[in-house]
Symmetry: C2
């Protein structure tokens, strides 16, 4: 006998959590498919040679490694031990667990280059593993949910990312949120324009705190980081920036007038917005933030980040354009653009905003209950009719008191019970009881089914 | 630059395979939900203390173990190496990858005993990992798909398993198959009745070869295994067994007349069949095989196994009743019954029988194509209208020759393209071309959408 436990940083998903997660994932999958994305899955394990060196030194530390099968110590000599764990890793392990979905996707594209038709639009929803220190909201196993288009530089992909985010959020009932967009070329141009070429990284880190700590403190930090006074002066037009996408584009066009790359970034954004207009839609929820920075080491074009307003959770989605997905795997020149939804974070947001629907997640719609064998047998016949009509139905499987059957229904949060008593058997009806309101009515089986179908 | 590869025994699932797998899994999930089963998921990693000792010695060998994070060699002294790998395992690893879905489920039930409402009906569809030697059709990572009801001995669960299998197979277009059923108590009774109590294991192994090698050879094997001549004589009524469920039940009732446990097994099966009748259905596809043996070390009641006729693949589904799921985790007295679908095998069966639908798996229904910027912009407007109507649509994202766009559509096996040329722009129509038949017609956008919706 042992008292079981879970490895730290991992969790079970019970029926309610699964129903809610599926509600989110279905909204995402439906949208991805509507836009022509196709699902793939890659193995949980990859060769360590595929994974290491792709996530920086810290990332390599956080990879979960699989102990070799069989006699895993066979290559380890007593004198090896003095060299430490890192030096002996490859003797004990040659495989690791997926750390993200991007590297396995890049490997997949490189390995299947001849079979795939480009542009290739794929989505992938699978768990990833990181040996991070567990803490609130940070797990060692969690799902990622990525969509990417590779093999094209068309900005229609960027416009469609905005459409997909809005469609998913509309399905989930999220109304108050901002899709922040920027372009890496604009960041490069800004650093150029203030005479601090190549320093967009520290610039953005500091500016990001503008709302919280104010310009004077940001300026202080920038000076400490080696930015010049002249740069501070030149930066001023971006500190007290106009609101509105078009106004900001105008400011940046002016600001970047001497930076060809910066202007190219502005033009790319303008083209994305033109495409949205041509698609018959608008800039709702779109927020152009010329200081938005993510993935500076790999994004080369558009940058996205989505924040839901009025909740404690940070960004729930993000992505960007890159120009060399598969170079490290021997296939150069594959550009693409991708984004991902943070499923765990969306879950927390919907919970915080009380946006999960109750009815549609409950699963079973009706529990048939009985008092005796005759009621049980009558229930059996009703059960088949209901399921054949597509009604999710159960019959309490044991002969027991009605009270216990009703407890089962209420613990499982079922909307209805259908009571099979002598009167119902005689009249060929069901006493259908709404467990939320307590209302009940005797209905023919056909009417009961119609009512249950109508309540979906 | 490196040439990437996959760890042996693992595989990628590309878009077509995923669509087909999802087609199978959707049929299964819909059915599970119709019958009131709720989904759960457990972590990929479990503590080794949860996993080891549950699958026999061979199973322990086949567990994938996770190397401890950080300085994994720190507890290993040079003198430990002489003791071998097995003796040092716990110093290097404390977690392993899920080997099946049953042990994690038992752990979940034991840990959540107070929150769950029993009978608890759960399904679970997740990958499992086994360090088996890879071979054709055997992978180191594969999906299992389990449904169990725990906390009840009601035989309605057994009847519903038969209903669920038939419903899933009907959805998948499978018509020629047998759901073999038996009861562990019948096997116990048979061994008793021939005077070889407790030897149902070797008995079934030998009898299983009856069709292939004939009675004389089976008899030889049984004699070698220590069965007596008298037992051989007593066994004869089961060697040339009548066909038909009712006929066989009659034979077994007679055969087991001196074995109370054997008769109980027969009665349980009879009750399952009575329930099917009461459910308004019949015994189609049900085949009572009194020698069917699976999971003799844990099944205590019903035993199921499903075989599709006329294909090279073995059983595609199986399960049974057990009376002590969670005892090892400190929660005694939890009986249940479960079964699982072999998703990989069902995939192979549907492929072999050519039963995968073509149209419903293709994803995108129409690719809008164009000759120039005007056509592209017109396509953008059409695209939104189509997606708003729920039509899965794409616009080729780059300005390029029509030939290349059509190649994309045909490589992705899309059913339709919608050509956006000058005439179409002028008349507000689309030239909708069926790529399978080559037929094309000019349709208003509304009619084109209606046609695409109708072709779903």
């Amino acid at each position: 006998m042992q008292k079981p436990s879970l490895p730290k940083g991992t969790r079970d998903f019970g029926p309610v959590q699964m129903a809610r997660r599926n509600y989110i994932l279905d909204a995402i999958k439906d949208t991805f498919q509507l836009f022509g994305f196709q699902q793939i899955e890659t193995p949980s394990m990859e060769n360590l040679s595929t994974l290491t060196g792709k996530y920086g030194e810290e990332g390599d530390q956080l990879l979960f490694k699989i102990l070799n099968s069989g006699d895993f110590l066979k290559d380890l000599a007593p004198e090896d031990l003095a060299k430490g764990s890192a030096a002996n890793l490859t003797k004990l392990s040659e495989k690791g667990l997926r750390y993200d979905l991007t590297v396995p996707f890049a490997r997949y594209v490189a390995m299947n280059r001849n079979e795939l038709s480009f542009p290739f639009k794929r989505y992938q929803i699978q768990p990833v593993w990181r040996a991070d220190r567990p803490q609130k909201g940070r797990y060692r196993e969690f799902y990622q949910c990525d969509a990417d288009v590779v093999g094209t530089e068309s900005l229609l992909c960027e416009a469609e990312i905005i459409l997909m985010i809005r469609r998913v959020f509309a399905k989930l009932g999220l109304k108050d949120y901002a899709i922040k967009v920027n372009n890496r070329k604009i960041l490069t141009g800004i650093a150029e324009a203030i005479g601090e070429q190549g320093k967009e990284g520290p610039l953005c880190v500091a500016i990001d705190k503008l709302d919280k700590i104010g310009w004077e403190k940001v300026k202080e930090e920038l000076l400490q980081r080696g930015f010049g006074e002249a740069a501070m002066q030149k930066l001023l037009p971006l500190v007290d920036l106009a609101t509105g996408v078009k106004e900001r584009l105008a400011v940046l066009t002016q600001f970047l007038s001497q930076s060809p790359i910066g202007l190219q970034g502005v033009q790319e954004l303008e083209e994305v917005f033109r495409l949205l207009e041509q698609l018959g839609t608008n800039l709702d929820h779109v927020d152009f933030d010329p200081m938005l920075a993510r993935g500076l080491s790999y994004y080369t074009g558009a940058i996205f980040e989505v924040k839901v307003n009025g909740v404690s959770i940070g960004s729930v989605s993000g992505g960007g354009r890159y120009d060399n997905l598969t170079g490290v795997f021997g296939l150069p020149g594959v550009p693409g653009v991708g984004f991902s939804f943070g499923v765990d974070r969306l879950y927390d947001v919907l919970e915080e905003l009380n946006l999960f629907p109750v009815d549609r997640l409950a699963g079973t719609q009706v529990l048939l209950t009985h008092f005796d064998q005759a009621g049980f047998d009558y229930g059996l016949r009703c059960l088949t009719a209901m399921r054949d009509a597509g009604v999710k139905a159960e019959l309490y499987p044991e002969m027991t008191k009605l009270k216990k059957q009703l407890e089962y229904a209420s613990k499982k949060e079922l909307p209805f019970v259908g009571i099979c008593g002598d009167e119902e058997i005689e009249s060929g009806t069901l006493m259908l009881k709404n467990l939320a309101t307590g209302e009940q009515e005797a209905l023919s089986l056909t009417d009961a089914i119609a009512k249950l179908k109508g309540a979906e």
